[in-house]
């Protein structure tokens, strides 16, 4: 089954040849799984290394028109400490609207270009919207250059370092949330130690025309398998990471979404970003509702949209991400509950197909993160 209106990444033919089950996702034809199946692809990533095609995500450079730091401009829309980013350092941040709601989440990296150019990676489904917002609100201060000629791969898992370092030893030196320019197989790539699975690993931005040959080199290693969108979702869910458009949307603040770590300390003190009134008030007083981790009792997964009820059966919230955690060994979920019910250990009920199932508010991540942080 093919749909000509869907976009294809540079790896499309490789996915089809590898037996990938292609589905429409954010306007692209993407592999949801390969013959290995979601469960084994998930385990492969936790135990060895998984290769993900994330070329559908938006990559762009942001430069300042006046020659000063472009981070000073985008900090107006992003509440993280970005101006302090040194070359080769990156941060997770959010793109806010005027009401302090999250339009998207993204990675912001300082490149080594002398003018302090920033490299951003945004969600596939949001990239046009994100670029429009940046253009509309900051178009007089910055230029945004989408990198449509670059593919993006994520190599994730405990064997990722060994695999990638066999091609370029210097990548072993990177710590979590650091990036550098590396020549891999004669191809200049932008490599960061980051990802969205909870595992150690890398994201590799590679010129589109060189990308398939490069992926083939990685796949030639016995520790590496292609991993589809299905396992990508179960991996990020177990890691307790938000999915844009599901665990938050334009109405949700960073405080509600429990991603307070994305708010820089100085930035909070200064309140110099859009929606600061609401966000600072919620920081001080707590938000009415907050995102929490949920562990259902029994085996029934609680999917997105499942109603959450209190002990008396009153509906108080909804599951925003949920499914089976292959490494956790049971169902896990995330959703929003009133702040009074957000404490770990609070008993709730999940209304699955009209029947109440017991569940408990639990800490996230559900599976320990294994990032390679700097040894201090």
């Amino acid at each position: 089954m093919s749909d000509d209106s869907l976009l294809k990444t540079p790896f499309y033919d490789m996915h089809v040849a590898a037996g990938g089950k292609m589905v429409p996702f954010a306007g692209y034809s993407m592999p949801v799984q390969y013959p290995l199946g979601i469960m084994k692809e998930h385990t492969q990533t936790r135990e060895k290394a998984g290769l993900f095609d994330v070329s559908h995500m938006g990559q762009a450079y942001i430069r300042s028109k006046s020659g000063d730091d472009p981070a000073l401009a985008i900090e107006m829309l992003m509440p993280s400490a970005l101006a302090v980013l040194k070359p080769g350092k990156m941060r997770y941040s959010v793109l806010l609207n005027d009401e302090g709601g999250i339009e998207d989440d993204l990675m912001v990296t300082r490149t080594f270009e002398p003018e302090g150019t920033l490299y951003v990676v945004v969600n596939a489904a949001c990239k046009d919207k994100d670029y429009d917002i940046l253009e509309e609100k900051l178009g007089d201060k910055i230029t945004l250059e989408p990198l449509d000629d670059r593919a993006l791969l994520a190599l994730q898992g405990p064997k990722a370092e060994e695999v990638l370092a066999s091609l370029a030893p210097e990548v072993a030196e990177l710590n979590f949330m650091e990036a550098t320019m590396v020549t891999l197989e004669g191809v200049v790539c932008w490599v960061s130690r980051s990802g969205y699975t909870g595992e150690d690993g890398y994201e590799i931005s590679v010129p589109a025309d060189e990308a398939p040959a490069f992926a083939a080199r990685l796949l030639a290693n016995d520790n590496v398998e292609w991993i589809g969108l299905g396992a990508r979702d179960s991996l990020r869910l177990e890691a307790g990471l938000c999915l844009s458009g599901h665990d938050f949307d334009g109405t949700t603040s960073p405080v509600e979404a429990s991603i307070i770590f994305a708010l820089g300390k100085k930035r909070r003190e200064n309140g110099d970003f859009v929606g600061a009134d609401r966000i600072l008030k919620e920081l001080a007083e707590g938000a009415e509702k907050v995102r929490v981790g949920i562990v259902p009792e029994g085996r029934a997964p609680a999917r997105e949209g499942t109603d959450i009820a209190d002990a008396e059966g009153t509906i108080v919230g909804k599951v925003t991400s949920g499914g089976f955690g292959p490494t956790f060994g049971g169902p896990v979920a995330m959703g929003f509950v009133p702040k009074a019910m957000a404490a770990e250990g609070t008993k709730i009920q999940l209304m699955i197909r009209g029947k109440a199932h017991g569940a408990t508010i639990a800490p996230t991540p559900f599976v320990p993160q294994r990032y390679k942080r700097k040894q201090s």
Partner: protein, 123 residues
């Protein structure tokens, strides 16, 4: 003789008691099964009613009653090991047994050859 439905269930009748599960084609399409919600014993269903739910890592799918009848037994092994649906869909991975209201209704289902043709037409 085993009969089949267009919803990819198999029905194996012994007198008026039918054992029901999902086909190999169905388990492959679903992927790794992680949970099966089974009906209550003694509950009665009409053909086409939603009677069970099978959840894979990906999504939840309904299983429909292939014929009118009353549930006589459910496969408790699926509670502890839902992956039986993947590894043994037409044997140990059965879902439930039904006492059929009218065994003559079996004639309205597909035989193996017709089901194989039906599946071939989907691909």
């Amino acid at each position: 003789m085993t009969k089949y439905t267009e919803d990819h269930e198999w029905v194996e009748a012994d007198g008026d008691i039918a054992t029901i599960g999902i086909t190999d084609y169905a388990q492959k399409a679903l992927g790794d099964v992680v949970f099966v919600e089974l009906p209550e014993v003694n509950a009665s269903y009409s053909a086409g009613d939603e009677v069970a739910v099978v959840e894979s890592v990906k999504a939840a799918s309904e299983v429909y009653a292939p014929l009118d009848g009353v549930i006589t037994e459910v496969n408790g092994d699926l509670e502890g090991d839902p992956s039986l649906v993947n590894t043994a869909p037409t044997s140990n991975g059965w879902f439930f047994k039904m006492k059929l209201a009218n065994t003559g209704d079996l004639d309205g289902l597909m035989d193996e050859e017709a089901y194989n043709d039906f599946v071939a037409g989907l691909e």
